[in-house]
Amino acid sequence: MNKQMYWRANIRYLLILLSIWFAVSYGAGILFVDQLNNLRIGGFKLGFWFAQQGSIYVFVILIFVYVRLMNKLDKKHDLDEK
């Protein structure tokens, strides 16, 4: 039971984080790049910025968030390494 709950929580985290992963790269950087390019931050068109800068920053953040979530989850279900 405990293991099942752990695995389900893990899958839920994966789905959430991978949706963000998809949204910033394939969404903002590719599929909606033209629409976003009408907005600007500083000298960047927003879509272009996501494609060449923003998505990479988000990728890094996603992994560190995942590590935090999983370390907590391991402890909560008493499945962390001794």
Partner: protein, 562 residues
Amino acid sequence: MDIQTWTFIIVGITFAVYIGIAIWSTASSTSDFYVAGGGVSPFANGMATAADWMSAASFISMAGLISFMGYDGAVYLMGWTGGYVLLALLLAPYLRKFGKFTVPDFIGDRYYSNVARTVAVICAIIVSFTYVAGQMRGVGVVFARFLEVEIETGVYIGMIIVLFYATLGGMKGITYTQVAQYCILIFAFMVPAFFISFQLTGNVIPQLGFGGTVSDGTYLLDKLDGLHKELGFAAYTEGSKSMIDVFCITLALMVGTAGLPHVIVRFFTVAKVKDARISAGWALLLIAILYTTAPAISVFARTNLIQTVSNQEYDSVPEWFTNWEKTGLIAFDDKNADGKIQYVGDVAANELTIDQDIMVLANPEIANLPNWVIALVAAGGLAAALSTAAGLLLVISASISHDLIKKQIKPDISEKGELVWARIGSVIAVVIAGYFGINPPGFVAAVVALAFGLAAASFFPAIILGIFDKRMNKEGAIAGMVIGMLLMLFYMMKFKLGFFGGGDQSGWWFGISPEGFGSVAMLVNFAVSFSLSRLFPAPPEDVQEIVENIRFPRGAGEATHH
């Protein structure tokens, strides 16, 4: 001091460091040789992974490539970083818990079949050789330019250095040299970037200078878009590839990254599941430093280049132009004989051809930076090429000694005997890689994309399904790998090498280029594996137990237990 003396000094020091590390970290067991004893700290592994990952192409060619592609360059930037999210979330922790030495180990055990193991070995060897040939060539090119020796001599020097630390230290030697190589390559990449960003935009940080203003107050990117329009090129911030192709290439590179054996195997070298997760984070952070700087350099270099050469008298070009003309990386053909350089979008009227590699290599000269910076770039390029070459050679040698000899041909081989074979394997691999470096097959450029496509089409689905689908059996996985790989090979051969009737852009399926086709082949692999697996019996109890076991971190021993 002149450039050459500086280059000798800086490259000499870095090589002495690599050799020193090799002697200090000699491998004494197969576990040392394959996975550095399984006790590398997460941050050190992150650095080693970053150096392993960033090849001569990332260091030397990528910024230049992007400067010619504009927005479309995003396929490389996102494609070669986004895969780490997949690695961290979907592969690394589970493979670490599984705790063996190689990727074919996992495929062979999870799919309880030596056929699966052999298919995986073949994929691993094809992918790694494709890659390593380019690295050895890169070493030769950097030597040729900066030390003014023949390219072949450069390749020989590179072979000797790699041979020394890869054969002696195995993964242990490679890991710690890669840590040193990361420091050298990132320093060498960033120093010119800081200088040039400051010169052009007044902001030291390239990522900010990228979106900053130039001396006349306009934004740099607007200025470059303007220059492009004036000269008849497509606007820099808008691409020319179709959206579906950009989508598929990005996906193929991301998934390919997550399926590359020399990257995956790095996560076997840490002590815990927890460490595998965090070291993927460190690796991507350290890679992102270079990958967010590269597109800025592309824009700086492109703007500098156009302003320096466009419509200038050929007789009054700066010295670097003539220097690089000698190497053939830049060429001027005065078509209208007016003595001026016309660099324009119209192919018929354009008089200047520029090799992409020049953007990083000549950047310090274009920006008038001191000689020691130029020498540093040479050392950085060598570090990038050598670190990747070593990682790949290890995968090849482990495939021979572990996956073929120990696991299939001679299971009763002693630890010592296997270690001897591992060393022999690495010598063979270095010699073959060196041969391809000296006699590069004409199709090297064409097959680099194949390495990613193949990894995406073969390993990635087999590993993911092996972890997340308990019901996946050997029939499904083997059929998926073989069909995915053959489909990818067929498409590449047809559209890249002209086999099976050939074809050009108009013949591409769904408008997807061969570079992006790995995405389609991967989906086909998933579909075949999934549907076929339901027609055959579920995997045996003990295999299902392995799958159950790798999902939970507790109890991850060292990667030595067999």
